[in-house]
């Protein structure tokens, strides 16, 4: 078990390295313009460009440039030339808001997805199933930012039921914190509820015809116990792995759209603002940050999978 985890961790580091190289390539090598001008941003002038060039060693060979950039990112020295703020600082400050948003949304989406998916599966073909399927399909067809805007307009602005965005830190006022986050949580969750409930439904319908479910029924236990202890339990395994990946992706950057519309001061909003100014250092850092989160969760998920599925956990001991 430990060897398994160790192997995965090494793999993770290798992928992170590859990612850092790619981020470097994307931001410095591929594009067709002068890197210094690009990084200096929209409001560049010759002095600024010269300064950028010197700071990042853009006159040196590529591998040296790569190392300089990596050093800057990891030691937290990277600054945005457009706003003159330390990037690492800004990301750190935005983290609590992003985590509040994503963790809350994740709890909501998993709870709803399991509930809807389960209902859909056990009443497959019936009215509940059809209605939930339609809801799910509509949910995954909506652009998140549009849904956010619509909800803001109708529920905040017109109906005055919810505040119009912005973030209240948990430590300041827990009730307001939650109140301000209700709409954003819901918005972010909708897409995932739609997707996950359908995956769960599909897995459960497949599982219901498995041999071991037939055995469970032959034992004479109640249908409900069959559904929960056997069908649901086994159907959840792929869901958990998917969840890990998606949660990593959401923290890593998927929350940009929601944060932008609801004006939540998280990492996503920071990135969103940087896009508008074509300010590259923050984008570089956020991309690395996002990719790191995904890889981290990828690895956690792989290890978790081994916990959930004993077949993987116990390695290759010969059956007796």
């Amino acid at each position: 078990m430990l060897r398994f985890a160790a192997r995965r961790l090494i793999g993770m580091i290798a992928v992170l390295f590859a990612i850092s190289v790619i981020v470097f390539l994307i931001f410095n090598v591929i594009p067709n313009s002068d890197p210094a001008a690009r990084i200096a941003g929209r409001n560049a002038n010759p002095t600024l460009i010269a300064r950028v060039s010197a700071d990042l060693g853009l006159d040196r060979p590529l591998p040296v440039q790569y190392l300089t950039m990596m050093k800057q990112i990891f030691t937290g020295e990277l600054t945005s030339y457009a706003t003159d703020q330390n990037v690492a600082d800004q990301i750190w400050r935005g983290l609590p808001a992003t985590l509040s948003l994503t963790i809350g949304a994740a709890v909501l989406w998993m709870a709803l997805a399991i509930w809807f998916g389960y209902l859909s599966a056990v009443r497959a073909g019936g009215f509940t199933d059809r209605a939930l399927t339609i809801l799910a399909l509509v949910g995954i067809s909506m652009p998140v930012f549009w849904l956010a805007a619509i909800l803001l307009y109708f529920l905040s602005f017109k109906a005055q039921l919810f505040p119009t965005g912005s973030y209240v830190p948990l430590t300041d006022d827990p009730v307001q914190w939650a109140y301000h986050l209700i709409l954003p949580w819901f918005t972010l969750a909708v897409l995932y509820v739609g997707f996950y409930s359908r995956v769960l439904r599909s897995n459960m319908l497949d599982s219901m015809n498995e041999d071991y479910v037939r055995t469970a029924r032959a034992k004479g236990i109640s249908e409900r116990q069959v559904r929960i202890r056997h069908v649901l339990r086994n159907s959840m395994i792929p869901i958990v792995t998917l969840f890990g990946l998606d949660f990593g992706a959401v923290v890593g950057g998927g929350a940009i759209l929601t944060e932008t519309v609801f004006n939540i001061n998280g990492v996503g909003l920071y990135a969103g603002q940087a896009i508008g100014k074509l300010d590259l250092p923050p984008l570089m850092a956020v991309t690395m940050f996002g990719a790191f989160f995904i890889v981290l969760f990828n690895t956690i998920v792989d290890i978790l999978y081994a916990v959930l599925d004993p077949r993987i956990r116990l390695g290759e001991a010969a059956p007796v």
């Binding site: 055995t215 469970a216 032959a218 034992k219 004479g220 236990i221 249908e223 202890r229 056997h230």
Partner: protein, 329 residues
């Protein structure tokens, strides 16, 4: 001795996108206490569906079941779901073909047996687990105290099937239905499992309904044989009668297709040419006629399952006279 299980005119059909499939079309037979009845047939003969119907696993919105299955004075077909659940596992238990996929991979073996026990008895988890250990021991699994905490994939195929059998017998049922219990196992392991079933049958007076397509298995274990074809029973007789005095051309085909040590070696093993009949649109006359070498004009009328030999325990569904049968066989 009155039979413990009486199946009368059982019909099971399924609604599918292509139409109604008549999987079981008028099956009747009896099982006496302590008797091993083998139900033999090829894929699509309806034997598995019959077996699953006896334990109520074919009840579904798209299935239609008529006829009667009398067990201890009650008709199982008419029994509401919650009452049938009390019968399942407690009085009638089932063992399935593929032990690899028939056990839930994420639960320990002991827990799965304990689940069976606790579904019908009000006992603590600890008690149920200790009973599981005893059960594993009784089916010949070495080191049961340790093995009870293992997962299914840690057992070999034969051991897994023993676990399935242990689980089925947890509550001392009167009837055990075994659906191709040895088909997925190696030949050497098959023999072990058959011996186990044989012992259980003798020691506990356990009635066994054995579904199989393998006549070798039948010869080892069965007291009586029921041959199914196209959703119907075509022959019903004791083991000796089936092997030494078969009355239906399909049975001849089945017997002819196995190598026998007690007869001179044939030139070729006989093959039954053709395909099984469609269960969507079953043929109107004898269902075997299209593949039967001996079919004649009377075969366009459906033959009934009757005793034509004067022996009330030997039934067959063929228009040929006993004399003709003796000649053709």
């Amino acid at each position: 001795m009155s039979p413990i299980l009486t199946v009368r005119d059982l019909q099971v059909s399924f609604r599918t996108d292509d139409g109604v499939v008549h999987a079981v079309d008028g099956v009747s037979f009896e099982v006496s206490p302590g008797e091993v009845v083998a139900v033999v047939g090829e894929s699509g003969s309806g034997k598995s569906v019959t077996a699953q119907t006896l334990i109520g696993l074919t009840r579904a919105p798209n299935s239609k079941i008529t006829g009667s299955v009398m067990f201890e004075g009650a008709d199982l077909i008419e029994l509401p779901d919650d009452q049938f659940r009390a019968v399942r596992g407690e009085h009638i238990a089932m063992v399935f073909q593929d032990p690899m996929t028939s056990l839930n991979p994420v639960y320990r073996v002991g827990d799965q047996i304990a689940e069976m026990i606790r579904a019908h008895r009000d006992v603590s988890k600890a008690e149920a687990l200790s009973r599981s250990v005893d059960l594993l021991r009784s089916v010949g699994i070495p080191n049961p105290e340790r093995r009870v905490r293992d997962y299914p994939h840690e057992f070999s195929g034969g051991m897994r099937q023993r676990v399935m059998i242990a689980m089925a017998l947890a509550l001392d049922p009167e009837v055990l239905i075994a659906d191709e219990p040895t088909t997925a196992l190696d030949v050497t392991i098959q023999a072990q499992i058959l011996r186990l079933l044989d012992n259980l049958n003798r020691d506990r007076n356990l009635s066994v309904v054995l579904i199989t397509h393998d006549l070798g298995v039948v010869a080892e274990l069965a007291d009586r044989v029921v041959v199914m074809y196209g959703g119907q029973i075509v022959e019903d007789a004791t083991l000796d009668e089936i092997f030494y005095n078969p009355q239906h051309p399909y049975t001849w085909g089945l017997l002819g297709s196995i190598a026998r040590l007690d007869e001179p070696r044939p030139e070729r093993l006989t093959q039954i040419v053709g395909q099984p009949p469609s269960l969507l649109n079953p043929p109107t006359g004898c269902r075997f006629a299209a593949r039967c070498k001996y079919a004649f004009d009377k075969c366009t009328q459906p033959p009934a399952l009757e005793a034509r030999l004067g022996d009330a325990t030997h039934l067959d569904r063929c228009w040929l006279t006993p004399a003709e049968k003796l000649e053709s066989r």
